[in-house]
Symmetry: C2
């Protein structure tokens, strides 16, 4: 499997506007845009940072994984996303090697395919794979 780079690091927040005061107002990162990501039941703010991004993720559904994460552990770093060349091949390879996947096939959204690896298989790290299409 070829990992190209860290695509983004996602931070679970209760309120994007308030968190933006820190990431943009204090740290000086540029807020590129805010977007509703339906598949994640979340509003996401994108802050480019070098060749990667910091993403602030505010849940829009109290039953979503991110909402439960905040309820259980408080706001904070939620997941790490690695960009791969070929996500379908990567998922097949991981499955063949016994890695537990949250998404056995990639979710497809505009311009990207993505899937999550279960933290049980990655030492407690919620890991997203991502392919630009």
């Amino acid at each position: 499997m070829e990992i190209k780079k860290i695509n983004h690091i996602a931070v679970a927040v209760e309120n994007i506007e308030q968190a933006t005061e820190f990431w943009q107002g204090i740290l000086g990162l540029d807020l590129e845009h805010v977007e509703e990501v339906q598949s994640q039941h979340a509003k996401v703010a994108f802050f480019p940072c070098g060749d990667s991004e910091v993403e602030l993720v505010q849940p829009t559904d109290p039953e979503s994984g991110t909402a439960k994460f905040i309820q259980n552990r408080g706001a904070g770093i939620h997941h790490l996303c690695l960009e791969v060349e070929d996500i379908d091949a990567a998922l097949q390879e991981l499955k063949a090697r016994g890695v537990r996947l949250i998404n056995e096939t990639a979710l497809v959204e505009e311009g990207r395919k993505m899937a999550f690896i279960h933290p049980k298989s990655s030492g407690g790290v919620l890991l997203e794979l991502y392919q630009i299409i």
Copy 2:
């Protein structure tokens, strides 16, 4: 403050050799080197990933922050490290703006200066600032 990029994302692990089986053996990242980082009371494995790194951090002292993190929350993503141009200026600016710092002045190690921002000030994210010197 000018943030250049994500320098690394640190993952707290109980056992570096075992975790390396996943990050290198399964994901295919290259293990660059393993190093004892005295100031962090930890053994750290460095995996370059694009223009950033994934670092696996195994505590060597049960009283260290990383050891307590694992005891309280289990292994997983521990902190995000952002590389800045001038860490001393950044810390002064943060302090002046009321941001709570774990290290009010930067720790100096070979080739680098670093300091941690308290998660209370950064929405639950343990954030490290880092300058290559």
